[in-house]
């Protein structure tokens, strides 16, 4: 893992404690190629790598989801092509090209 490229303040938020023997899949986040495991949600794939998913629209403060069950809508992220995904309920797919860290434009 290319940890040295990640700034200190975006250290991974989630910690894997079980089920680590799954197949690896790769995706990109802001152009960087990263690894996840088959069956991860987009939220898991991103937050086992970095410390947030998105920024709040008004304050720009970092956000990392909240309810993890599709209720709070605080984990929407974008793909490079502009598609919006609810990270907690969307499975990661090999080759997904995600964008994080920028306030979303509506």
């Amino acid at each position: 893992m290319t940890e040295r490229h990640l700034p200190e303040d975006v250290a991974p938020l989630l910690t894997r404690v079980a089920e680590t023997a799954r197949e690896r899949v790769t995706f990109t986040l802001d152009g960087r190629t990263l690894g996840a495991l088959e069956g991860d949600t987009v939220l898991t794939a991103v937050l086992t790598t970095v410390g947030h998913l998105r920024h709040a629209e008004l304050s720009g403060a970092p956000r990392a989801g909240f309810c993890l069950m599709g209720a709070c809508q605080d984990c929407w992220v974008s793909t490079e092509s502009g598609e919006r995904l609810r990270a907690c309920s969307t499975p990661i797919e090999a080759g997904m090209r995600l964008v994080s860290g920028r306030p979303s434009l509506r």
């Binding site: 938020l13 197949e23 069956g39 898991t44 410390g51 947030h52 709040a56 304050s59 990392a64």
Partner: protein, 460 residues
Amino acid sequence: MSDPLNPVIVGAGPAGIRAAEALARHGVRPVVLDEAASCGGQIYRQPPPAFRRSGASLYGTDARRAAAVHSAMAWALDRVDYRPGTLVWNAEAGALDVFQGDRTSTVPYSHLVVATGATDRVLPLPGWTIPGVFALGGAQVALKYQGCAIGTRTVFLGTGPLLYMAAYQYAKAGAGVAAVLDTAPFGSKLAATPALLRQPRILAKGIYYLAWLRAHGVALHEGVRPVRILGSRRVAGVIWSDGQRERELACDAVGLGYALRSETQLADILGCRFTFDPGQRAFRPEHDAAGRSSVAGVYLAGDGAGILGADAAEWAGERAALALLEDAAVPVDRARAATLERRLARSAVFAAGLERAFPLPADWAAGAPDDLVVCRCEEITAGDLRAAVRDAGAHELNRLKALTRVGMGECQGRVCGLAAAEILAHAAGLAPEAVGRFRSQAPVKPLPFTVLGTQPRKPA
């Protein structure tokens, strides 16, 4: 339509599954719509296919219940029209608007069982939007559904039996637990014991978690008052008061929750009459002992109809299905229906006991600072809400929404509704039932922009 009996069940948790099973046993084939990719609801949520943990590891003491519910659905699969990954985003008399895959369609119904379940009941505190703070149920989903912990030193903060259950599950999985901080004092639990004895199995489970956590040296504090979560780009600690002085605890994650709240948007859009439930300090859709709502042909079951827990959800789902059949002049086993109603009545006593044992902090609104972000979506603060009460005379929740945008964001007030109502009631000097509730609006959850208005509505 040739067959006038065309029931639809919304939700495939314990209530929806038992409703589907009961209808199928009577030769009726319902449509079962569920937002999740696989059945079980939140409590019996199943991990994606690549995961390998056993039921005992995933569901602990509830493993047998979980297996029974999953196998009921497995049995019903050939006998119902099960449509996972389907969001019901709007409803009208006789038809539901659904979104599945990348398209919307309309699903007609003659009878509707609404089994939409529950989500975490949350009261905000300063710092609750910092990455690393998750809803308590979310912390459980991370572990159960993804094999992840939200941190390596997690504080479980709030109140309710799930607080101890989640802490136990984390500790058992080898994820560090810094402490359980429960706002409910010990005395309230003691006072509730007689009511809690109505469901000894569940009470025993709670006592077991508590004893296990104590035996394993996890710090448990009762009667706490949460002050703030520390950190900027991620959680660094929690400050709480024990009534005498403020105490600081280092941690890197917080699971935050005050038991559960019913998911009622669909019942609201359907026009069901609501009533204020003082025990749950919230409005919930009215229903009779069998689950009939105020709208003919619409039945309510499970935690979406009032928080009674997973076991009761199974009974309520089956009972609602029997009511539906009775109303459609299909003969049913009335003794079974009566048994289910008796169990549900016992569950209601137990649930009232839980609310007494783990009450919402009565003084939360009074202590919420003006700069506290109440609404995560629109970043509306307690001070913004109080200003609207003071300067514009807002005294009703939808008026407050119009003035401040609280509850207008993408969660539609699911997360902030309770907090906004409590702040409003306190600031206006009103009882919580006097300030009303957020009106639900379609779409109940966000849809891709490309979907709305571009596709003709056709029956599925």
